[in-house]
């Protein structure tokens, strides 16, 4: 049952969610194109299909809240406010990149946005998000730490250590599992003894819930509620958002382990056209309005690609910079 959108957010905010999802998708699809052209190299993990999670969740958080994620994090960074030009430049390995070309696709970071990093060691971000939450509590700051991770990360030791720790020290951490049902080519039921991930928090007495990660409004509502719970109680909370990546694990993966039928089922639940349809049906936007949003997003990504192309490479001398203070 879908909620009526206007009962949740004002029109402008709803349109912003659509714009952020469209921008994320457009950005990722253009990344694929630039990878094919050889402009982006290395590992490239795209987010297409999962947009409702990053967009809905970010909208449910405060701007001061920390966000950490794994290596599939372009959308989380951009939706939080990272400049798409500097993100694209980072992917191109250019000096103007958000991390000066030292991080690449998997290591976006912008502390001015409280976007505290993309981490490429599966499970590496768990304890760091707990530590950030501790610093907020210690310093008396009104912010929580939101930690995104995949279904594959829940079998790392750091997952269990960090859940235990966050509850033991009573720290404001919101754990957000993006369950896209696969860790590379391994389906959840082949890696987790208990495939219903949100149930795994009971050993740490952390409240948890499962939400439809293809529905941006459902994610928004769940995260907003959970974030307030975390803020009020100063304790952790756990959300499992079920979703699907439309592409392979990375550009190197043709995703042969998934059936066409399965893909079709999820494709029918694509959060972009479905949300667009809802916006139209409820009279929140006209077709023309949506098209102008889409055109704006395309232009933003065009500009990002041009900026990245025209930017200079890092100087050789930069290899010794920014290691020590």
């Amino acid at each position: 049952m879908q909620t009526r959108l206007r009962m949740v957010l004002p029109d402008q905010e709803l349109l912003k969610l659509y714009e952020q999802m469209f921008l994320s998708r457009e950005f990722e699809e253009r990344c694929a194109e630039q990878y094919a052209k050889g402009h982006i190299t290395g590992f490239l993990h795209l987010y297409s299909g999962q947009e409702a999670v990053a967009v809905g969740a970010t909208a449910g958080l405060h701007r001061d809240d920390y966000i950490l994620s794994a290596y599939r994090e372009h959308a989380q960074a951009i939706v939080r406010g990272a400049d798409p030009r500097r993100v694209m430049a980072e992917l191109f390995g250019k000096a103007t990149g958000i991390c000066k070309g030292k991080g690449g696709s998997m290591h976006l970071f912008d502390p001015s946005l409280n976007f505290m990093g993309g981490y490429a060691i599966v499970g590496g971000q768990f304890p760091i998000s707990v530590g950030l939450a501790f610093s907020a509590k210690y310093r008396g700051e009104d912010r929580i730490s939101a930690c995104f991770f995949g279904d594959g990360a829940v079998n790392q030791g750091t997952f269990h250590e960090s859940l235990n720790w966050a509850q033991l020290w009573q720290l404001p951490v919101l754990f957000i599992c993006e369950n896209n049902f696969y860790g590379i080519g391994t389906e959840v039921h082949r890696s987790s003894a208990l495939a219903s991930i949100h149930k795994r928090t009971c050993g740490y007495d952390i409240p948890s819930e499962k939400v439809d990660g293809m529905d941006v409004i459902a994610v928004y509502k769940a995260v907003k509620y959970a974030a307030e719970k975390v803020r009020e109680s100063g304790r952790p909370y756990f959300i499992e958002a079920t979703t699907y990546r439309f592409r392979g694990h990375s550009m190197a993966d043709p995703a042969k382990y998934r059936s066409v039928a399965e893909h079709e089922v999820w494709k029918a639940r694509d959060p972009l056209p479905n949300f667009a349809k809802q916006l139209l049906e409820e009279g929140i936007a006209t077709q023309a309005q949506l098209e102008s949003i889409e055109a704006r997003c395309r232009q933003t990504v065009d500009e990002a690609v041009t900026f990245a192309e025209e930017s200079p490479w890092p100087e050789d001398s930069s290899v010794y910079e920014d290691i020590y203070v």
Partner: protein, 328 residues
């Protein structure tokens, strides 16, 4: 100046820095109520309270990850890993995260954190509790590695580590905790990171050592003086960055070198130092650089054979006699 133990000097450094800067906090297994398994954190909970002196679960990787996050959030964590052996469970957070974050994020953040870890062998604790893993950390860019030999250096270096804005691995030798020495009272007494010290001047042989090996080297030098051999003992103190200037200038004056390392010889720091000496001043050497090292074996328990695996004063004296006499 006051005479105190290496343990008390470390304890005083922690207290002084916690008094000086409210963003400094201490965390680790059994550091609060139990006051540390080596009692280095004695009295901290009583003076600074539960907010700043934190017992943790037995989750080494997460102890370091939480410290990384707290440092990123503006605090100055001082984590204790119960012993260096357990750092192996935290190598992901130490190497992949702590050592990389500043660089891979383009210098947009820094991690003012210290990890204290007791280490070394010689107490019949067998293979899993007797390791000297200093080179594991020296190998990784992105962090400093300190290892004091005396109470004064212990205090001055720990204070510098806590104030430094880079991640610091701070090793403490378990057999030195009860050793005594004069320690300056001045709460602003700091030993700079990256500076070795000539602990004993001499002109025939340079002995380069660190931590407990420095103490053994000084004893060896004393005894060799009776045989008419004059040794200069250079205490590295800082293993990363290495103070090349200090040891090279000593080597240039003596032309003979013995490096003493408690760690395993293979890929040990003696090999690294020897290579740097050959590169910088091959021409002044009158003998090959001689290494006295821990044996390349898992440490046995029995004290009879444990001794063979750790450099002893006699081994150092033998190596010095070798480079002096030309019997290498």
């Amino acid at each position: 100046m006051a005479e105190m133990t290496y343990r008390d000097a470390l304890n005083l450094a922690l207290k002084e820095e916690m008094r000086r800067d409210p963003s400094v906090f201490v965390l680790g297994e059994d550091v609060a109520l139990y006051e540390g398994s080596f009692k280095v954190t004695r009295g901290l909970l009583a003076e600074f309270g539960e907010e700043r002196v934190k017992d943790t679960p037995i989750s080494e990787n997460t102890i370091i990850g939480v410290s990384v996050g707290a440092a990123m959030g503006g605090l100055r964590p001082v984590a204790e890993l119960m012993t260096v052996n357990f750092a192996l469970l935290a190598m992901d957070q130490i190497v992949n995260h702590m050592g990389k974050i500043r660089s891979m994020f383009g210098g947009q953040t820094f991690l003012p954190m210290t990890i204290r870890m007791p280490g070394g062998g010689g107490s019949q604790l067998a293979a899993q509790h007797s390791q000297s893993l200093e080179t594991y950390f020296m190998h990784c860019p992105g962090m400093h590695v300190l290892y004091p030999a005396t109470p004064a250096d212990a205090k001055g270096l720990l204070k510098s580590a806590i104030r430094d804005n880079n991640p610091v691995i701070f090793l403490e030798h378990e057999l030195l905790y009860n050793s005594k020495g004069e320690v300056p009272d001045d709460p602003e007494f700091l030993v700079p990171i990256g500076r070795a010290e000539v602990k004993r001047p001499g002109d025939q042989v340079t002995i380069i050592a660190y931590a407990r090996m420095t103490i053994l080297a000084l004893q060896a030098a004393d005894e060799l003086a009776g045989e008419g051999i004059s040794c200069e003992v250079v205490d590295l103190r800082s293993l990363a960055p290495l103070d090349m200037e200090t040891f090279l200038s000593s080597v240039r004056a003596t032309g003979r070198v013995v490096v003493v390392e408690e760690c395993w010889r293979t890929c040990g720091l003696g090999g690294e130092i020897a290579s740097r000496i050959y590169d910088a001043c091959f021409d002044v050497l009158q003998a090959p650089v001689k290494r006295v090292s821990g044996l390349d074996v898992p440490m046995p328990y029995s004290r009879k054979i444990e001794k063979i695996c750790i450099p002893q004063v006699e081994d150092i004296k033998g190596a010095v006699r070798d480079v002096v006499s030309g019997r290498y």
